[in-house]
């Protein structure tokens, strides 16, 4: 189920990417990065969902903590670049560039 949802989201984000308007391009990038994060989450297997704690006596069926760390890093980096790009769009608008002319 989640794979089909990822496919649909990827489709929408690529469509947005191909738009001329660069606000839509940025939104496409945002959606794309979030979809990739979900893909990363599914890569760690979704069957086992119990959280990991160190002092649990018999630890079975725990969720994969590594993908969560990867996603956290990816979100931080992606958010930084997103902020940069939105400031860039603001500056471009300040110069009088119309949103459709890129």
């Amino acid at each position: 189920m989640i794979e089909i949802m990822c496919g649909i989201l990827l489709f929408i984000s690529i469509l947005l990417f191909l738009e001329d308007n660069f606000i839509k391009k940025m939104l496409g990038m945002l959606l794309f990065s979030n979809t990739i994060n979900i893909v990363l989450l599914t890569c760690g297997r979704l069957k086992n969902i119990r959280p990991v704690f160190l002092n649990q006596p018999n630890l079975t069926d725990f969720g994969n903590p590594l993908v969560q760390a990867l996603i956290l890093t990816a979100i931080v980096i992606g958010f930084g670049i997103l902020v940069f790009i939105s400031v860039l769009i603001g500056r471009l608008a300040g110069r009088g560039v119309s949103y459709d002319s890129l």
Partner: protein, 489 residues
Amino acid sequence: MIVSNNLAHGAVSLPLMMILLHLFVEKYSKIQRTIQVLGALIFLSFAICFLLMYKAPVTIAVSNWQPPFAITLVFDRLTCFMLVVFAAVLNCVSFFSMGDPAIKRKKREFYCAFWLLTLGMVGAISTHDLFNLYVWLEVMLVSSLILILSNHEQPLSELFHYALINVFGTLLMLASIGLIYSLTGTLNYYEIAKQISTLPAYYAAPPLGLLIFALGIKGGIFPLYFWLPRAYPSTSISSCMLMASITTKVIMVVLLRLVYLLQPLQSDVFQTLLIPIACATMVFGVLGAATQINIRRILSFHIISQLGYVLFSIMLVTKASLVAAIYFLVHNIFVKTNLFMSCGLVEQRYATNDLNKLQRLATKNNLYSIIFFLAATSLAGFPPFSGFIGKFLIISAAVDNAFYAGIAFMIAVSLFTMYSMFKIWRYGFCEKSEHLETVALPGTVSRSQVFAFIALCLIWLSIGMWPDPILKQLNLVAHDIIQLQVTVT
């Protein structure tokens, strides 16, 4: 061993320290300059000591977590060798940037981004963890964004284009890293190599193909390379040189390491797929250059075509082609940076780089003209210089593997390279046009720039005229890489 270990830590932490120092010394331009020169020289001396004292690979396990489970930075012979090359070119760029008028008001941003790029470079070529590679490439991306901005007129729409395409590339790379992790359960290069060679090809090929495609976007390989000639000519010449000599080349080193480590990438599927892509990269780069009349645009398109040669040589997957690929990469780093420097000097003196507005530069600037001519002939591949040796090595490696179509492409592309180099030479340096007068702006070239220009020229002349020591070193590098693949899998 202890000394090498300390040098490895130094190579990572020196750029970080330099970023911090540069944040504080903005107002004192003399101190800023001294710190920059000293830092770059110390970095170079670290790299040279490291290569001379090299005995075995130095592994830094981050926070002492042992290899298969955590991030490792491994300084093997390839890393040490490339560190020396990159440090040499960084020194030259650092000297050149002292007198660059385009970044005069943005010195602090420029130098911080300079060291951030260096940090990303050291990390990306030394890391042995796929996700960590992604992080270092993002560090390099962010620093390139700052570098493009450190120009007195800021090219915002080119920057937007650059940022978007590169972010697209890194996100695809992230997806492929996730898929590889789900296949092998690890992110360490050696473990991945071990696990993935046991998997059937139809499992291993798609994520690896996605990884190569994503690295190709970031490195300017054929289908999506248009961001490169669009972004590079719009920044200051120092930033342009830095990005041209570091970012795409680091991607090539990473590709080389992955191809020689992961067995599925050496299979026929990838060879039949990537060798035509390499040929297309060469051809489209050089055809793009043929239509341009702006010197910097011509040179930027040629970067792409040269990357095609390197990719072609990497994908032949023999020891000889490995040596050829690294030699050609090194030659290209030095010669291309030198050509960009001469273009920058022309821009500084005449305030333009349009071939229609320049004439008879050779009569007024003898030294620059001679160096430009030598570098251009070296890039086109004329005998006594490094370009000839690089192309000769690649062609002889291709003859061994009987890739004759690829050789035909290489020779045709060399002819076109010669055509556009001589286009610059003829219209910019020799021919006189009746209706315009090129006037030099007085006293704009500083002594440090001339020094960097000549030093870089001497470096590539020496690796071309006297290639024995570097080829001996490269044979050792190739031997290590091929041995490593055998021991790991």
